[in-house]
Structures are given as structure tokens and as C-alpha cells.
Amino acid sequence: MALRISHLTKRFGIFRAISGLTLRIEEGQFVSLFGPNGAGKTTLLKLVAGLLKPTSGTISLRFNGSGPERRHVGYVSHQSLLYPEMTGYENLFFYSRLYGVAHPRERSGRMLERMGLSGAGEQLVREYSRGMKQRLTLGRALLHEPRLLLLDEPYVGLDQQGNRLLTRILRSLKDGTHTVLLVTHNLAEGLELCDRVLIQHRGSLVYDRSSGGLGRREVEAAYLGAVEEDGTESRSE
């Protein structure tokens, strides 16, 4: 078991972003999490990443052969988390040092190659295109070889080439040792890769199915059901 969440609640003032959510993800699973805006998906990822503290409930991370340390978590957020005034290589080297990666220079160079950015390693990040930044962001998240990767809308702003590269990289992570929790609005991309589908709505999980034999229409119907319900309630308010 990689991740276990029990009765998790997160409040911001009077707003309840996560409401009694319980979830268990096995090691090596690739899980896609869908949901309308404001469903609490990003909050859930931040809680798992340790960036937020739960109001109540517990989150435990455990991987085979390792302790429950947060150093095994990689996180890709809406923002790139990169320093625009540093080069691509300097960014990766800096984060390698923070994570205590062995041989940070070699590791940073290899990661640039893996992300197809070896030619742009000495270029300042502020000169990167959106797609290049997103690839470097993923490289940053993978630098320390995390066992659990949390991806928050990684496809946003990518062109077709960037999309293909990202999908290829994510597919390479389906090796049984990496656990991935992908948050996306894009059903096609989310369903293509995942073993399991979750839909979150108003801070709770309303749908949880294995993706084996699962049609896009079924997920679409469940997703739209949640969104429409949300819209109806919003209008009635």
C-alpha cells in the first residue's frame, strides 16, 4: 500500500474543501482523479504532499522497503516551481541538493537529457517556452526518483509535441514501482494511462472504479453528472 487516507477533512475558515475523504492507493497504481473546478482536487494533492495540514483525519504514506518519508513524494503543481533567473541545469542541480540526491551534477545532466532539454540546459528558464518549462518541471519532480508522483494538471499549456512527450514519460512510470495520482480535466489523457478512475466532487469521492474495460462514455457520464449537479445547485442558490 502506497497511500492511505482516512476520514480526511480540510477546512479553510468556514469553507470545507475536503470532506471526510477516505482513499487507499496500492503501490504501482496509476490513478486519474477527475472533478469539476472547486472539487478540492488540488487541496487533496497538497495535503498528500505535506504542504497543508489536515483539519482532521490521517494521511499515511508507506512504500515497500522504505519508511513513510516525504522524500519519496514528487509533486507537479499548476506553477512550475522553477527559478526564472536560473538556467535549467542550475534549477535541477539546486533541487537535487535540497533532496540530497547522490551525484547531483550527473543526475541533473541526465534528467535534462531524459526530458529532451540537454541543448537548453544553460539557457535561463525565463527564456523557455511553456512546453519546455513543463518538461523541466516534470524533471524537477522526478529528480529524486519519487515512489509517489502527484501531478496537478500537467497537460495544461502543452502543445501536441509536449503532450506526446509527457504521455511517453508518464507511461514509462507504469513499471510497478511508481505510484501516480494524476489530476486532470482531460478525460482522454487521464483515461489513456490510468488503472483506476476517481471522481471528486465537493470534497468527497463520488466515483471509484478500476479502468479495466471502462469506457470513456461511462466516466464522461459520471463526470458530467457531478458537474451538472454542481451547476444546478449553483443556479438554484
Binding site: R70, S77, L82, E85, R97, L98, G100
Partner: protein, 237 residues
């Protein structure tokens, strides 16, 4: 892991963070020139206002020159302290640092070290300008002045880094930081001005060591307290 190894690793992480900030600043030198120009302007304005280089004026009001010097050394430092966390918040890079498994107190120490080195560099140039404009030659007591600058800027940076982090997510941070910071650092300013009066004008150093002791005590207390509370300051609610 042995305590020595942990200490060395911690120091390495602190330097990694500080070196990153200094590298970015060295690349643009934006804050350095802005802060230095502000200090220069203060020295010039007071020079024209008080004719402070006049010997009679110095005898009549011996505390005025050290007062001018410390206004020029301390006030412009707020520019850097405001920028220190603001840029990390704007680029989202603070999240990147917080995601790493390093102790959050070390993040404070890294940011503090960068701010301290920055302020000492600006202060040394400001002191040189002060000595040229107000006609103070280098004497055997100049090293004492350098010690006062090191100690005062240390305490100022420690409190300023903590408060800079506190206000960095608030819209009115530019106004709020000096309002919060200056009342707290009054002991630093008092000790620095009085110590400098002895160094610059008086021949005997009767009370100098008392002022130095106050500065050392302030530095130790506020550096330790800031290190301990930093985790709660950067935590998202």
C-alpha cells in the same frame, strides 16, 4: 547518521539556499543597486540638511553622525527583506522548497544567510561612502565599526527575514514590513548608534563593549526564536 554528518549536511543545505539567492542577485544586481542608491540618497540629504561634516556641528551634537549613518544602513535594507520571500511566492518556488524533506528551520537559515551577506555588502559600500562624504579617515577604530555593522545587520536580517516571510503573502507587505520590523529592532538601532558614537567620535571605548553585548544577545535570541517559529510562518492555513 552521526551528529557531525547531520550538522555538515545541514550547513550544506543552508549554503545551497543562500548561494542560490546570491547567484540570482549577482545576475541582476537589481536589489543591490536600488538599496545602495537609497543609502547614498539618505547620506546626501542629511549632508545638505545638517552640514554634518562641519567640526563645530559634530561637537555640538556628537550623536548626529552615527544616527545618520545607521538610518542609511538600516532603512534601505527593508527593500531586500521585502523582496526575499516575495519573489519566492510570486514564482511559486517557495512551494518547491517546502516540498523538499529538509527541516524548515534550515530554509529560514538559508534565506537569512543570503540576506545577511547582502546587507553586509551594501553596508560596507555605504560605510565607505559615508567616510568619504563626512570626512572620516580610516583609523585603528575602523575594525570596531565593521564589527558593529556585522552584528547589527545580523540581528536586523534575522528578524527581517522572519517578518518578510510573514508578510510576503499579504497585499500591503511593502507598508507592513517596516511597521512590524522597526519597533522590534529598536534595541539593535540603539546599540548600533551608541556603539558607533563611541567608535567614530569618542576616543575611549568605555561603553562600547556593553553595546556589543546587547547586539550579541539580540542576535542570539532572535536568530534562535526565528529558526524555531519559521515552520509555522510558512505553513499554509
Amino acid at each position: 547518521m552521526s551528529p557531525t554528518r547531520r550538522l555538515l549536511d545541514g550547513l550544506g543545505l543552508i549554503w545551497t539556499l543562500a548561494e542560490k539567492d546570491l547567484r540570482i542577485e549577482l545576475r541582476s544586481r537589481q536589489a543591490f543597486y536600488t538599496t545602495l542608491f537609497f543609502s547614498f540618497l539618505i547620506l546626501m540629504v542629511f549632508n545638505f540638511a545638517f552640514d554634518a561634516a562641519n567640526q563645530d556641528m559634530r561637537k555640538a551634537a556628537p550623536g548626529i553622525l552615527p544616527g545618520i549613518l545607521w538610518v542609511a544602513l538600516i532603512f534601505p535594507g527593508v527593500i531586500q527583506l521585502n523582496r526575499s520571500f516575495q519573489s519566492e511566492r510570486e514564482d511559486g518556488t517557495l512551494l518547491g522548497i517546502l516540498l523538499s524533506p529538509m527541516d524548515r528551520g534550515l530554509i529560514f537559515l538559508g534565506k537569512f544567510l543570503a540576506n545577511w551577506i547582502f546587507l553586509v555588502a551594501v553596508n560596507l559600500v555605504t560605510l565607505a561612502i559615508f567616510m568619504a562624504v563626512y570626512n572620516f579617515p580610516l583609523t585603528s577604530s575602523t575594525p570596531w565599526m565593521l564589527l558593529l555593522i556585522l552584528l547589527a545587520s545580523l540581528g536586523f536580517s534575522a528578524v527581517g527575514t522572519l517578518f518578510g516571510a510573514m508578510v510576503s503573502s499579504i497585499r500591503t507587505r511593502e507598508v507592513l514590513l517596516p511597521i512590524l520590523l522597526f519597533p522590534i529592532v529598536i534595541p539593535v538601532i540603539l546599540a548600533a548608534v551608541n556603539g558607533s558614537t563611541e567608535v567614530l567620535l569618542a576616543e575611549n571605548f568605555r561603553f562600547l563593549f556593553q553595546w556589543i553585548k546587547i547586539l550579541v544577545a539580540f542576535d542570539v535570541i532572535f536568530l534562535a526564536a526565528s529558526y524555531l517559529v519559521f515552520e509555522y510562518v510558512v505553513e499554509e492555513s
